[in-house]
């Protein structure tokens, strides 16, 4: 197991761990006004308290859960849709596939974030749940996954074993499962990772602007409150740095994981000295 894979996996899994076991790790409930406000980190409050009187460490840990949940939901949705559409777009001919290709092209050019903002901005705040948020992120996120899968299938399609399979009269679904899929699994995994990461970035951005679920608690919403209370200008680093750093660590870990998996699953010629 190479270094990148190990470190990446470690980073990602520790954050996921925090998220999954949040209810047990968080020391305090996250209701408002329970504690004295704006407290710096201390022994009783590991990360201090915020301007609404909540323990930041508990907020953070629950925030991780929420953000991860939205990311995972959106990521799975967009990957699933992306795999199917990407395959159709790459493999089939005909009007539907052509339209799909055009659609993917269009979505990849348009600035999606403003569109998302408009969409969630017009939704009444009360209607936005974690799932709704994940859904709309996925609606605009699947073209990214589709494009990945599309280029992969295109390159696989050109390779000889597919022609051989066609010659031996395999039908399309057979070809899909027996010949192409096994080569794709690692890429689908990588795409999923990327989609989850991208979904988390988008969710945090939307929540930062105040478009997240109203009584929810993602890391993005934590950052939203820091802005509402001008935490940065007041130097309350213990409030805004933890969520920011957790996100950074997670994304870097994801990147390392991807790179490590790539090295493991795609055997290339061993590195020659001097490159």
């Amino acid at each position: 197991m190479n270094l990148r894979l190990a470190v990446g996996f470690l980073l990602v899994i520790s954050i996921v761990f925090l998220g999954v076991f949040a209810p047990w790790i968080a020391l305090y409930p996250t209701d408002m006004g329970l504690f004295p406000r704006d407290q710096k980190p201390s022994l009783s409050h590991l990360l201090g308290t915020d301007s609404i009187g909540r323990d930041i460490f508990s907020m953070l840990v629950h925030g991780i859960t929420a953000t991860l949940m939205v990311g995972a939901m959106a990521g799975s949705l967009s990957t699933m849709v992306g795999v199917v559409t990407g395959f159709v777009a790459a493999y089939k001919g005909g009007l539907v596939a052509e339209l799909l290709r055009r659609l993917i092209d269009i979505f990849l050019v348009i600035p999606v974030l403003p569109l998302l903002i408009v969409l969630s901005g017009t939704l009444a705040r009360q209607n936005v749940t974690y799932f709704t948020l994940a859904l709309i992120i996925a609606i605009f996120g699947w073209p990214g996954a589709a494009r990945n899968i599309q280029s992969l299938v295109l390159s696989l399609k050109k390779r000889e074993f597919v022609d051989l399979a066609k010659l031996s009269n395999e039908r399309d679904p057979e070809i899909l499962f027996k010949e192409i899929m096994p080569n794709m699994l690692s890429y689908i995994g990588a795409t999923f990772g990327m989609q989850v990461g991208a979904a988390m970035v988008t969710e945090t951005a939307l929540s930062l602007m105040g478009l997240g679920p109203s009584n929810a608690n993602t890391m993005g919403i934590m950052l939203y409150w820091t802005r509402q209370f001008a935490a940065i200008t007041r130097g309350m680093w213990w409030w805004f740095l933890p969520p920011a750093l957790v996100l950074i660590i997670f994304f870097i870990g994801l990147q390392l994981l991807n790179m490590g998996l790539d090295e493991v699953f795609n055997p290339r010629l061993k590195r020659v000295t001097g490159e």
């Binding site: 055009r102 999606v112 403003p114």
Partner: protein
């Protein structure tokens, strides 16, 4: 649809014309698609948010006159203009025509200012920030990429490349928060928000421009430091691939000077995918820059959008989306045209 149009054009026109026309068609179709989404979204709800706004307007101001403007008349006109009481198709057509004329209606949150006015107040700063940062980031990335490609395998290469790879993963706005804290609060080098000084008046004078640059540095840095890595790594891998190419061996065999080889053989070939990469990432970078603007309360479309969301101003929201898309698509078109100039293979 699209390929039918393409087929008709294939006859007897030079390849570069074909290329340009194709790109123009893509531009129009994509813009049309964005506009259509803009049209559809408010109408998906049971009660059209625009209709809601208009009713709210009537309720709030209906029995007074603001600066001599008859609210009921304006609302009725807007209703008529949007054709909210007509069928979908007529609405759609008139909507398309309005978009074509850049007629976005009246702002609800800043009534009775026309939306176009708001947009033109905020747009220049967004464009200025975005494109300046983009040009600097892209150029620097390209130059660094070439430099680091020649040093591949060395310590500098691995450290710099890893650093850039990680920086690239940080969302713009997170870096913005950190920069505000470090450089604004802790070290107080740069202002933590705003577009120009409090008492500075916009104009073509030195005070304004220097104040603008001073306030724009942190927002620009947030975007620059993140996107720089992407360009650098892409250029590096392109150059590394080119160094393996046969025509590079030929250039060396010909005994050309190193600068000549770098300029004419490496650079000119490596730029092509870089330009394409620039076009592809414009949408994403613009989106990110909008969020950065809200973090800095920078006078740009991002702040306008955030305000519009806060006050539920659908017209402004839609107009902002439209203008962002329009800007990105136009920039894409320009990049495509540039590509046609530098790649002789496109010319046929």
């Amino acid at each position: 649809m699209l390929f039918l149009i393409r087929k008709k054009i294939d006859v007897n026109i030079s390849p570069i014309c074909q290329y340009l026309v194709k790109k123009l068609v893509v531009f129009c179709v994509t813009l049309w698609f964005a506009v259509t989404i803009n049209f559809v979204i408010p109408r998906l709800y049971r009660v059209n948010p625009i209709e809601q706004q208009l009713r709210a307007l009537e309720m709030t101001y209906g029995y007074q006159a603001i600066e001599g403007i008859d609210i009921k008349k304006v609302v009725a006109e807007t209703r008529a203009r949007l054709g909210l009481d007509q069928d979908m198709f007529t609405q759609y057509v008139s909507y398309l025509i309005q978009m074509f004329k850049f007629d976005f209606g009246i702002s609800y949150g800043a009534f009775p200012t026309p939306v176009v006015e708001l947009i033109s107040y905020y747009l220049p700063y967004s464009l200025g920030l975005l494109f300046t940062t983009l040009i600097i980031s892209w150029s620097l990335g390209v130059l660094l990429g070439v430099f680091i490609a020649f040093k591949r395998g060395s310590k500098i290469d691995s450290t710099l490349t890893s650093a850039m790879l990680f920086l690239n993963r940080i969302p713009f706005y997170i870096l913005a928060l950190i920069l505000i804290y470090l450089l604004g609060y802790v070290f107080s080098i740069f202002p933590m928000s705003g577009t120009y000084g409090y008492h500075v008046v916009p104009g073509f004078n030195l005070t304004f421009i220097s104040s603008l640059i001073y306030h724009s540095t942190l927002p620009a840095l947030s975007i620059l430091l993140v996107s720089l890595g992407g360009w650098m790594i892409m250029m590096r891998s392109t150059v590394v691939n080119i160094l393996e190419e046969d025509y590079l061996t030929m250039a060396k065999a010909k005994g050309l000077r190193k600068t000549t080889i770098i300029k004419r053989y490496i650079f000119r070939n490596a730029l092509l995918p870089q330009v394409t990469g620039l076009a592809m990432s414009l949408g994403h970078i613009l989106g990110g820059s909008l969020i950065v603007e809200t973090v800095f309360a920078y006078r740009g479309l991002g702040t306008l959008l955030a305000w519009a969301v806060g006050s539920g101003d659908t017209f402004v929201m839609q107009a902002t989306f439209f203008m962002s898309t329009f800007a990105v698509l136009t920039a894409n078109l320009i990049v495509d045209l540039t590509y046609a100039l530098i790649d002789p293979r496109i010319r046929g």
